[in-house]
């Protein structure tokens, strides 16, 4: 009986191994979102800048946009922000922000320090829209076409290379179709 107890670590290790093995295939930076090809889920959330003003999925209508999920608490978002500024200012890309599981004052501090590349920011303190979108963690960036359909999901930091090689082709395709 005591000897059997000594097998316990082995069993535990094998169990952990299953999860690790399962993790290999799903590269989290290329997570397929169940949402790709479907419209943005319905939501009704406050605007970050105008408390009280409610935003819904119609903000995505009419023009191809990037939906960037961020939060002041997320270190990688600080890194990424320079590129978002560059995309918004130099490339004229329309970026909608999703301020995810954050507090207003922190978000303002972040924007005050790094600049605001967003056309509109959806304030999602409890992560409800994030949950519906299947957000893994910040930062994530979705390409959404003019009909409000999710075209692509990028997990991780957006930089020049990601933009040129991954996002821009999807954006161009989305623009072409509409």
């Amino acid at each position: 009986m005591k000897r059997l107890m000594l097998f316990l670590p082995l069993v535990l290790a094998l169990a952990v191994g299953v999860f690790l093995a399962a993790g290999i295939g799903n590269d989290p930076t290329e997570l397929e979102s169940a949402r790709v090809g479907k419209p943005v889920p319905e939501f009704s959330l406050e605007s970050l800048h105008q408390p009280g003003e409610m935003l819904d999925q119609s903000v995505f209508q009419g023009e191809v946009s990037l939906l960037n999920v961020w939060g002041e608490w997320c270190p990688a978002c600080w890194d990424e922000h320079e590129y978002l500024m560059w995309l918004a200012n130099d490339k004229g890309v329309r970026i909608i922000g999703l301020n995810y599981k954050d507090q207003r004052e922190n978000a303002f501090r972040f924007l005050g320090r790094l600049g605001d590349p967003y056309q509109t920011i959806i304030f999602d303190p409890r992560g409800s829209l994030g949950f519906d979108l299947g957000v893994y963690g910040a930062p994530e960036t979705f390409v959404i076409d003019a009909q409000g359909v999710v075209r692509y999901r990028h997990v991780g930091v957006v930089n020049e290379r990601v933009w040129e090689e991954i996002l821009l082709p999807v954006v161009n395709q989305a623009r072409g179709n509409s």
Binding site: P9, A13, G17, A22, G115, V155, E160
Partner: protein
């Protein structure tokens, strides 16, 4: 031409590793000394060829050989030479080569410093090291060849090293960390050899201890360097982010700490044997898990290398084989101890057991937090990431509890401790700790429950440690004589515990009383942070070797007196199209003042981040002291008089160190 030689050297290294993994082991099994004698030369050969390969890669960086893909991806002709050197381990392939070099180095070190161990034991230990080397050689040769060429279209220039890595902290951080990770392989190899032999005795524990302690010291330094680097380089003044990869380094540190203490009990009292050997296996496995998490891309992190499923699969296989084989061996061979209490309820054994329980609980907790997203993903329960609140809420109580136990445990004795005596001993440290804590609270202005708990635990550990040293060093021939009489390993322990207390104090105070302000400033303006006033003098431009920078000047005043002039920068690296914030810090023993430049808000105004960080230096200073304690402990005399003890140990159970003079001892 050279790069091919480097690759050839790697392949020869692999062949030598295969021989090392098999020949001495066969010799040990069959008792043939002639085969066992191969262990040392093979270890040396393996190290030489790995070193050669590393030298070739370094050469390729130094001469800007961009025909080598790895060099082209991680270097640039404009890079200063020292960063070209550190760029050797700036990416996946090169850092893996560094890892292997260290593995071979540790193997060689075991070969050199174990001349007095029984030949069978040495052969087995070196063979196990050889097996680990085989795995990593195969990994680098099959999936991650650092010498791969880009032919025929050789790029004119390289892509540049990630600017985040162009820093002194990053030159040192990975080597230290790897020394720690890889160093635990020695304790692992000793554990496996002991399991094969079925000899888990005091001698085995004594041999494992110095290796474990050294590896632990390196890992401590590595983690501290990483944290220090993150603090000044990432630009927002945090020092620990509970990032998966940080956690990956913390996991073996926690279980390694448990292992060090458990080994002490096994050596001194011959108990906890199965537990100690399990910890040795777990600690090295966690080091491998760390490598897997960083290099497989299953979790996203700022540290991650390029993701590649092939590498992930290979590493997981390596991890799996190691863990399954060693734990199976463990399950069959570990001694089943009959419950026969050889120590009292109140004894040093009990305190160290509780210490182990807490450390293992902390390990499990961090492992849970790190792997939780993977598990949820697997179960299709959606994606969630666990943030700082989880760790703060769960890790802090464990740390405080460990501190309280540690302070009390210092006064405990082996086998049995008189409760009343111990209580009286603890009375004064308790009273003084409360006073000290109250004074600290008053000084920083404000009571907070966690600040109280953390500071109290730190004061408690410090006072108990010093009190004990004072007691022990009492001598009729005077205090100085008494102090000199204490062993180096005792001083190692004292430093280790004082360092821990410093880290706890620093972490608690900076988390509870630190101030961070993001302010809008124009040149000529000023802002306050804590008691300090920061004046923004001007901002200008400056040209670096491979970047341009916006360069500000800020004067820091305290009570109208200037204490520092700071020059933070915002650097723009054109090659990689990246911008880096270089904060400038007025560092002090009791506080840091930290200034970082943010975004330009308007023509005139800039967003500036100002921080007041009390006792933040204690985090790294404490870690340094802990590491020094570790190095001091292994310089103890008894490791140098192992010589004769060994002969006794191989013949009988209870080896007593015999009175060899240090001068007689060889290594």
């Amino acid at each position: 031409m050279y790069p091919e030689l480097g690759q050839l050297a790697l392949i020869i290294g692999l062949l030598l590793a295969v021989l090392l993994a098999t020949v001495p082991l066969a010799g040990a099994m069959t008792g043939r000394d002639s085969l066992q004698a191969f262990a040392r030369p093979l270890s040396a050969g393996m190290f030489v060829f790995t070193g050669l390969s590393f030298a070739v890669l370094t050469h390729a960086f130094m001469v800007d050989d961009f025909s080598v893909a790895y060099v082209a991806n991680n270097s640039n002709s404009m890079l200063p030479w020292y960063y070209k050197f550190s760029a050797v381990w700036g990416g996946h392939e090169g850092s893996l080569l560094l890892w292997i070099l260290m593995l071979a180095g540790w193997t060689l070190a075991v070969a050199i410093f174990s001349r007095k161990l029984p030949s069978v034991m040495v052969s087995q230990v070196l063979s196990v090291m050889g097996m680990i080397c085989v795995g990593f050689f195969l990994f680098i040769i099959i999936t991650s060849n650092p010498f791969e060429r880009i032919l025929p279209n050789i790029p004119a220039d390289g892509r540049d090293l990630n600017p985040l890595l162009q820093d002194i902290g990053l030159i040192l951080h990975p080597p230290m960390l790897y020394m720690g990770y890889v160093g635990f392989s020695v304790a692992f190899a000793f554990a496996i050899a002991a399991l094969i032999n079925g000899k888990l005795d005091a001698a085995w524990a004594r041999w494992s201890r110095p290796w474990t302690t050294v590896a632990w010291s390196f890992l401590t330094l590595g983690i501290a360097l990483g944290s220090w680097w993150a603090y000044y380089e990432l630009g927002w003044g945090g020092w620990w982010f509970w990032d998966p990869v940080e956690n990956a380094s913390l996991l073996p540190w926690l279980s390694g700490t448990a292992l060090m203490h458990s080994l002490a009990v096994t050596e001194k009292r011959g108990v906890f044997k199965s537990w100690t050997v399990l910890l040795a296996i777990v600690t090295f496995s966690l080091s491998l898990l760390g490598a897997f998490l960083v290099r497989s891309g299953v979790l996203t992190s700022v540290h991650s290398f390029a993701n590649d499923p092939e590498r992930g699969t290979f590493l997981l296989a390596l991890l799996g084989i190691t863990v399954v084989c060693s734990l199976t061996l463990y399950a069959f061979r570990a001694p089943v101890v009959h419950v026969r209490s050889r120590y009292g309820t109140l004894s040093r054994e009990t305190f160290l057991l509780l210490n182990n329980v807490l450390l293992v609980a902390a390990t499990l907790l961090v492992a849970l937090g790190t792997l939780y997203p993977l598990v949820l993903d697997y179960l299709n329960m959606g994606m969630l990431s666990i943030g700082e609140p989880f760790y703060n809420a769960t890790f802090s109580p464990l740390a405080v509890a460990a501190g309280l136990l540690l302070g009390a445990g210092i006064f405990s004795r082996w086998k049995k401790t008189d409760g009343g005596w111990m209580g009286r001993k603890l009375l004064w440290p308790l009273a003084v700790s409360i006073l000290v804590t109250a004074a600290v609270m008053l000084n920083y202005g404000g009571f907070a429950p966690w600040a109280f708990a953390g500071v109290f635990a730190a004061a408690w550990v410090t006072l108990a440690t010093v009190w004990d040293l004072w007691d022990k060093s009492a001598s009729r021939k005077g205090r100085w004589h008494g102090l000199k009489r204490q062993s180096r390993s005792y001083y190692g322990m004292v430093l280790g515990h004082l360092g821990m207390a410093m880290v706890m104090a620093g972490a608690t105070v900076v988390s509870n009383y630190g101030i961070a302000r993001d302010v809008r400033m124009v040149p000529g303006g000023s802002a306050d942070v804590g008691d300090y006033t920061v004046v923004f003098n001007y901002i200008g431009e400056r040209q670096g070797p491979n970047f341009t920078a916006q360069y500000g000047e800020f004067d820091v005043f305290l009570d109208g007196r200037q204490v520092a002039s700071l020059h933070p920068e915002k650097r723009n690296y054109p090659v990689g199209m990246s911008v880096m914030t270089e904060a400038d810090i007025d560092a002090g023993f009791f506080r840091d003042v930290f200034v970082a430049i943010g975004e330009r808000i308007s023509d005139e105004a800039w967003a500036i981040r100002l921080q007041y960080k009390p006792l933040v230096r204690w985090l790294w200073l404490g870690s340094l002291i802990m590491a020094i304690g570790g190095f001091l402990a292994i310089a103890d005399k008894r490791y140098r008089i192992r010589v004769k003890a060994k002969a006794a140990a191989s013949s009988g159970e209870n080896a007593q160190p015999v009175g060899a003079k240090p001068s007689e001892a060889g290594t």
